[in-house]
């Protein structure tokens, strides 16, 4: 398999920089789990049906990756992604903490609808 690409969309870049500045350990854990999720997709598994402890199924085909496995005492965090199987692109929508989840999901859903056309 292979051939999937990552594309930052929406507010991903600005949220990424905020996490890099204030929550480095959480960001590292989220990225390590993103790497694991991508490894399974590239191994041929369907991104919508993968079940993992750190992966949460959200509405509109969005998946939320959390920080589990990154060590103790980490703030609950989410990296929202939207897999586009047809074009083999994993859209990176947003990064946020648990408290911001509701607001982030509203934003991510709007982006996912836009990406679907």
């Amino acid at each position: 398999m292979g051939g999937w690409e990552l594309e930052p969309s929406g507010s991903f870049d600005s949220r990424y920089k905020r996490f890099e500045k204030n929550h480095r350990r959480e960001l590292k854990a989220l990225l390590a789990n993103l790497q694991r999720y991508l490894a399974l997709i590239e191994d041929g598994q369907s991104p919508q049906f993968i079940k993992l402890g750190f992966l949460h199924r959200e509405s509109d085909g969005i998946k939320a990756i959390d920080q589990k496995g990154g060590g103790p005492g980490l703030m609950e965090s989410r990296l929202y992604v939207y897999p586009d199987r047809e074009n083999q692109v994993l859209h990176l929508l947003c990064i946020g903490n648990k408290a911001e989840q509701h607001r982030d999901m509203v934003e991510c859903r709007a982006w996912a609808r836009q990406l679907r056309g």
């Binding site: 990552l6 890099e20 990225l31 490894a39 399974l40 402890g53």
Partner: protein
């Protein structure tokens, strides 16, 4: 068109400061083995709890192993994990300056060694059509695949180098003389009769 990335580490390099990018890159390299274990468990459609049951440990230990950096992993834990998945492991030790060409030479010699083993089995099982026929089919399949891999990457070379490599193909002396293989004429290779056989 928005920027796209093939790897997470590539994305991190583009978006992060130098220090964070270096840290993540180091972590990424050090977790290559644990990530490979994780992919294999998912291929086998097993949960961490199921693997823990087979190993005889707690699920938390399996989780820890799948996130561990190489320097924190115990060989016995890795072997127990692989055994639980019905897998084994082979190791390769080489110089630190081991290059891609060294790797290709190493694997080419290994492939040659295994082809010799298959050829010997085919000779011993000459009257068993299933085995000898299967081996003959595999030889043809391997020949086609290796040509495909080679040409697929040859065209990726910049044009002047491609021409240079093609010239080398025509004039270079192969390490193994195909014409020296008993019962196999050079023209048979050239006309692809090997594949058809």
């Amino acid at each position: 068109m928005p920027k796209r990335f093939e790897r997470v580490s590539e994305l991190v390099n583009a978006l992060s400061g130098k220090k964070f990018a270096q840290d993540f890159d180091e972590h990424s390299r050090r977790t290559q083995l644990s990530r490979t274990l994780f992919v294999w468990r998912n291929r086998k459609d097993l949960t961490q709890t199921e693997v823990a049951g087979r190993v005889g440990c707690k699920q938390a230990k399996i989780s820890k192993l799948e996130h561990a950096e190489i320097q924190d992993m115990r060989m016995k834990d890795v072997l127990d994990y692989l055994k639980a998945l019905g897998l084994s492991m082979s190791m390769q030790i080489h110089e630190q300056n081991f290059t891609a060409t060294d790797a290709i030479k190493y694997h080419a010699l290994e492939i040659n060694r295994h082809l010799e083993i298959l050829a010997a089995i085919a000779k011993d099982e000459d009257e068993n059509d299933e085995i000898s026929g299967g081996i003959a089919d595999f030889f043809g399949e391997y020949f086609q695949n290796s040509i495909h891999f080679f040409t697929q990457n040859l065209v990726k070379l910049p044009q002047p180098l491609r021409a240079l490599a093609a010239a080398g193909l025509q004039s270079g002396e192969p390490t193994v003389q195909v014409s020296a293989v008993p019962g196999l004429e050079e023209e048979e290779i050239a006309s692809n009769k090997l594949v058809e056989a």
